[in-house]
Every structure is written in C-alpha cells, then in structure tokens.
Amino acid sequence: MIEARDVSVAIGGRGIVANVDFDIRPGEIAAIVGPNGSGKTTFLRALSGDLAYSGEVTINGRDLSAMKPVEAAMLRAVLPQATTLSFPFTVREIVRLGLLGGRSGALPGEDERLPERALARVDLDGFAGRFYQELSGGEQQRVQLARVLCQVWAPVLDGKPRYLFLDEPVSSLDIKHQLIIMNIARDFARRGGGVVAILHDLNLTAMYADRIFVMHRGMLAATGSPQDVLSDDLIEKVFDCRLRVGVLPAGDMPFVLPQSAA
C-alpha cells in the first residue's frame, strides 16, 4: 500500500500541490484526473521521489524520503509523460534499462528474455532492433512502457506488492493501443500490484479505474469510485465546460459526453 498524508509541493516558492491525501491499495487502479495545471504530474513526481514535498509518503509502510534510488526502484516503476533520448539507442537497449535495478522478479535466468516479452505485451513484436528515435510518438511511449514493465515484471516481490506510476500512459496512442495498455495495467493490478495513472480520457477512466482522484487547483476535489465521482455537477465545475454524464444501458458504467466549452 502507498499512503500519502497531507502532501504539499512547492516549486520555486509557488505552491503547486496542497494538502493531498492519497492512497493506492494493491489490486486496484487509481486514476488521477483533472484539468491541465491542476498539479497531477507534480503530485506524481513527488510520489516518485523527484520533488521535495512536505507531509508524509510511505510505500509498503516505509518512508519514501528515507529510501535510496535503488530501493525505490524495487518497489515501483515510473512511466513519465514524455522522454527525450540523447543517443541513438536501439529499442532493445532502451527496454533493457528497466533491468538496471536488478529485481525484475522474473524467474532466475529469464531476465535476458524479458525485453522481448515486454515488447510483445505492448504490441511491439519485432521492434527490438529498431532505433528508438525512428519510431512514432505512440510507439516510443509503448517502448517506455515495456521498459517500465521489465523493472517490475512481477507485481508482487518477496510477498510485497509493487506499483506502476503511469503519467498519461495512453495520451499519444490510438484507441486499440489505449485499450491494450489499460489492460496491461488492469492485469498488473489483478495479479496483486497497484497502479496509479494520470488520465485525461474520462471514459477510459470510468472503464478501468477502481477509484478516481479528481484534482483541481492543486487540491483533491473528490475521491471515490467512477459511479460516485463522475457526476455532471462535479465534472462541469472542475473542468469548466458543459457536458453530460450518462450510464451505459448494459451496466452501471458511467460515460461522459462533452457538450460545449463554456
């Protein structure tokens, strides 16, 4: 379990995130939604150990601020929003970087084969020999996800859950690959890991998230299941636009239909 209590983050003296309480339980996908500039990425970066924060964050009961990089790398893998690469590495060489932490959790001797298997999972079979910089934005994003999967290949290590931090994992993907990636996240959670994902597509969020954290102006505006959180009033207020929330006839899954910008 990851617990964040009263977390605030300031960058250059400017408060970006204020007093956020947050938790991820093993076995679930927690989605963070909110308009641009609401502090989602900043909060996730604090959770990843990239930014100084006030408050308390624990991962599986251990204080994040006291963890060494290699210890944190064993417990969670992070998919950033965008990655720029400075040298012409091949796709395999990039994916292999996920194994640097040394605890993929795969069976002994299987690490060598993980890059191929991870690439197959993100639908990039046969891409290992390609140059990363030659790929499209969506393909690059999936390569990065394959790297992240190698790092925490087993969602549970030594009996303890591990976590995926995904910052807009599907933002540059076509609809098929959005579903493939979200299914990977769901599978990771079902096998005992925890997932936190920043998402912009509210319908995808409704489909996959067990709990939604709505951020607005650096604070939590609402927390709860998709059915609880996705209401006309709240979403219109937070996103400042006109929309309708309906319920799919086949079940109780809500969907969001945008109407107009004002």
Binding site: R45, S48, G49, D50, K68, P69, V70, A72, A73, M74, A77, V78, P80, T83, T84, L85, S86, F87, P88, F89, T90, V91, R92, E93, I94, L97, G98, L100, G101, G102, A128, G129, R130, F131, Q133, E134, Q151
Partner: protein, 366 residues
C-alpha cells in the same frame, strides 16, 4: 519523424535484434590489437633505427647470455626516451577520449568535450599558475606538494570549471546545450584571460616553455612525469567503468535514471571529479590536446552504439592508439624538428567536429 542522420547511423549499426554487444566485443578486441601495433610502431619509429623486432626480441630474451641483438644505445633510446613517451601517449589518449565520452553521457550531448567547454582551459590556468608563480607566490605550497603540485593545480582548475559549468547549464535536471556551450566559451575565455595575465608576468624562459606547453606535446616525457600523473589517470580511468550503466540510464534523463535505481547525484559528482582528474593530469604534462575527446567516442558510437559499458573501454583503446598515431605524425612530418601534437589533433579534429555539427543540425536544437 525519421531523421536522416540517425537513419544514416542505423545502416552502419543495425543489428536485427537490437543487441550490439557481440559486435562491440569484437570491435574492442580489434582495438586491443590496433593499440598493440601502434605501441610497437611508436617504439620503433624515430631518429634511431632501433627496430620493433629487436626491441621485442630483447624484451623476450631479457638478459640472456649471448644476446647482442640490441645495443646499449638502442636500449637507452627505447627504454628512456621512447617508452615513457609511448606510455604517456597511451595514458593521455585514453584519458582524453574516455573523459569526452563520460562528459557527453553526463551532459546528454555528443558535442560535450573537455577541450571545447572550457575544462581544459581551467586546467591550463591551474598549471600555468604553478609554472609562473611556482618560484615566488606559490613556493611554500609547491615545496610541500613537490611534483604533484602541477597535476593537482590542473585538476583543481578543471574541477572548478566543470562544477561551475554544470551549475550554470543544468536546471531542474535538464542540461541546456546552448547554455552549456555558451557558458563553456565564457569560462574558457575567462580562464584564458587569467592565463594571459600570468603569461604577461612570466620571464622569457618561462614564456617559451609555456607557449610550447600550451600547444600540446608529448615531448619531454620522462619516467618521473609518468610517476606523478600516471597514478591519477589510472585511478580516474579505473573508476569510469562503474559509471557506464548509470550513464546509459542518464540518456533517458535524470529523473528516469533515478527511477530505475541509479543514484544520480553520486553518479554526476563521480563523473565530474573523474573527468577533472583525468583531464587535469593530462593537461599538466602535455598541455592542450584537443578534439580527441569528441572524435573518438563519436566514431565508436557509429560502430558499436552508445552503450557506455562498451563505449568507455573502446574509447580508451582508440584514444590511446590515435594519440600515438598523431604523435608519430608530429615527430616525423617536419623532422628533425617536432610539431606540437595539439596542432596535429586540431588540424585533423576541427573539420571532423564541423562534420558532426552538420550531421546533427537537424537533431540538436541549439
């Protein structure tokens, strides 16, 4: 978007499964052989006709009775004049090339080079200060440090420049290329101006020493010099392989390197100190030898890819070989006089650097 220059590199370096480690190992093996050949040639070529064959024979047979193959004069030339020079060339070539590769990994940019961004100028300043002020202002310090004073001063100068440069060019874990190059130019100009003041203060004898020293040369290599800077360079080089994995991860940015478990701060400071030590020691004995640090890693990336686990040792080997080659050219092209080796590496290296710039124009946004 497919970039032409990267596509060009890929035709040279594509392995179907993206694993270039096998090819890298072969290249490293070949480079070992190449260095062995370069060492033998360097030991043999020169004003004396002592040949590589007879030297090896002498070495193999040792003091075996009846071994008259090599005269005492040849032995003197090979062991006391050429051998120190060759060892120094190997050490400095390796140090400069590896330092270039490490800096490029650290700054995440193929254009970073100790000579280009002011580190060598900083080292130079330290060394010139010791040469000019050694008999007067700095005399008490030098009497304590002895022969270590020169490399130490060069190290401090290089370290100060690198730290300053890194602070200026990096913000929120991202290094700006434009800022890095411009700050490097400014720091180099400052260091050279201060060096100029020292030169202004120097007497005629010091002046001549300084001029030739600044142009860069392996002439005057002695066992004593090797004794004072050799250990520093060897230590710095020995530390570099431990940085390789971290530098690979750094290609994805500082944050991601941290996420996969690399202690980024420690990596950065180890790299900066290692590079400053290696470059400082090199500058202290041989002056400014430019472009080795940029040409060697770049050529090798084309051949084996950017994986630092192979790039760093390969750079050491190729850097050593190329510097021996450049030294051979410097010694022979205007014989019996000798061209400063810095001129040779600059004449060969500067056009190469321009070529890299042209190829990279589309990729790197200055």
């Amino acid at each position: 978007m497919v970039d032409q220059s990267i596509a060009g590199a890929s035709t040279m370096a594509t392995a179907s499964d993206g694993d270039r480690s096998g090819r890298a190992r072969i290249v490293i093996l070949l480079l070992c052989l190449g260095l062995a050949v370069a060492v033998l040639l360097s030991l043999t070529s020169g004003a004396s006709d002592a040949s590589a064959v007879s030297v090896v024979g002498d070495w193999l047979l040792g003091a075996a009775p009846g071994n008259e193959a090599v005269s005492a004069r040849d032995r003197l030339i090979v062991y006391d004049i050429r051998l120190p020079r060759v060892i120094l060339g190997v050490l400095i070539g390796a140090a400069l090339a590896v330092s270039g590769a490490v800096m490029q990994g650290l700054f995440r940019n193929p254009l970073a080079d100790p000579g280009l961004i002011g580190v060598s100028a900083g080292s130079s300043l330290g060394a010139v200060a010791v040469i000019v002020l050694g008999a007067t202002v700095l005399a008490p310090i030098i009497s304590v440090l002895g022969t270590l004073a020169l490399p130490l001063a060069a190290f401090c100068g290089g370290l100060a420049t690198t730290l300053l440069l890194y602070q200026v060019a990096t913000r929120h874990g991202q290094t700006s290329v434009a800022t890095m190059l411009l700050a490097g130019i400014a720091l180099a100009a400052l260091a050279m101006a201060l060096t100029g003041i020292l030169i202004f203060m120097a007497d005629d004898r010091q002046l001549r020493d300084l001029t030739f020293w600044q142009l860069g040369s392996l002439a005057g290599a002695t066992w004593q010099k090797i004794g004072s800077v050799g250990p520093v360079i060897v230590l710095a080089l020995a530390a570099m392989p431990f940085l390789a994995r971290g530098l690979n991860a750094l290609a994805l940015g500082e944050a991601t390197a941290g996420h996969v478990g690399i202690p980024v701060q420690r990596l950065k400071y180890t790299a900066i100190i290692g590079v400053s030590a290696a470059v400082g020691a090199s500058v202290a004995v041989s002056g400014g030898i430019g472009f080795v640090g940029i040409v060697v890693p770049h050529l090798l990336r084309l051949a084996i890819g950017p994986d630092n686990r192979y790039l760093l040792p390969a750079s050491a080997l190729l850097g050593a070989s190329l510097l021996l080659l450049a030294d051979a050219v410097a010694r022979t092209i205007v014989a019996p006089a000798e061209l400063p080796i810095g001129i040779v590496t600059a004449i060969a290296g500067a056009p190469f650097f321009l070529w890299i710039l042209l190829r990279k124009r589309g990729v790197i946004d200055l």
